[in-house]
Point group: C2
DNA sequence: TATTGTTATACTCTATAACTATA
DNA sequence: TATAGTTATAGAGTATAACAATA
């Protein structure tokens, strides 16, 4: 069993550098945590399914919100419209989602996941959640719930539709 | 006064998309929170000081760890050696840090922040922390401390020196 | 033989600008 | 006049490969 490093305060998890001044910079702490989750995503979903983080997120959101538009996705993920178009293009080319002009507003696309796409989203989510659970066993279930709740609170501080 | 949105569970902070399946994907929640902190960084430090997030972090870590090497920075931030070289180049060109070959190991650089660099790091940190505190007033001081602690715990789950 | 740092190169990701179609 | 989506283009960000110097 690998030695479990106790979280030493004010020292970078790798490299052993003092980081007291960065301790209360939330953006830095998020970035450090993201190093871990990005690695986990890559290993458990990114490589196995040849999927990028944004592609996974967009696919999952479409599966969960059939009939949604690209504009809404762009707002939800804070990415530009052209970027969403490119992501949707790739997902469509792989047969995971389908575009269809909306009846209500003929400008907008009504997006839907195909059966293949839904299946993939489900499998990928399972793989990621399992991978995270295994790797983050230092956190109790309660701690993980609190963490998610607090992160959501931070996310909700986003200035309303600043674009 | 802008209406304070109550954190609705399972709905994206912007765009109002259902996200139940992503609720326990920590990487997704981190990314959503990072949208906020990235914006705060850009507004309070990035634009005013013409500083990128990585540059700020590297400068601050150097200021706090005089004599440190580039290799250690690369490990701490999980970036490649060539990338660190480029970042250090820019910081040095602006007169914020100085390189000097180490006496112990003549391969490695002993990095130090100049007085100008230390001053800038201090000002930038203050601006970021103030900006975050103002924008994240939905979180109590206690909640912010817990959040930082839990994020640090996640960050410490990084596989030891996987390179 | 491994490690530190550098250079050169290429790729991935994302944004801005300009346009079309619809509202 | 504003919004949804697309195309074309450009830039930021980061990595891989190959090398030099030192350990």
């Amino acid at each position: 069993m690998p030695a479990k490093r106790a979280p030493r305060p004010d020292v970078t998890p790798a490299g052993q550098l003092a980081e007291a001044k960065l301790h209360f910079v939330l953006g830095y702490q998020l970035a450090q945590a993201a190093i871990v989750t990005n690695g986990l995503f890559a290993r458990h979903a990114g490589k196995p399914f040849a999927l990028r983080p944004v592609e996974y997120t967009v696919l999952t959101l479409i599966a969960e919100n059939p009939g949604g538009s690209q504009a809404r996705l762009a707002r939800a993920l804070a990415v530009t419209a052209p970027h969403i178009t490119a992501i949707i293009d790739r997902l469509e080319a792989r047969g995971w989602i389908a575009r269809g002009r909306s009846a209500d507003d003929r400008r907008s696309q009504a997006l839907q996941a195909t059966q293949l796409g839904e299946e993939l989203a489900r499998k990928a989510t399972q793989a990621i959640v399992d991978g995270e659970r295994a790797a983050l066993s230092t956190l109790s279930a309660g701690e993980q719930m609190i963490l998610v709740e607090l992160l959501h609170k931070v996310a909700c501080s986003r200035p309303a539709a600043a674009g």
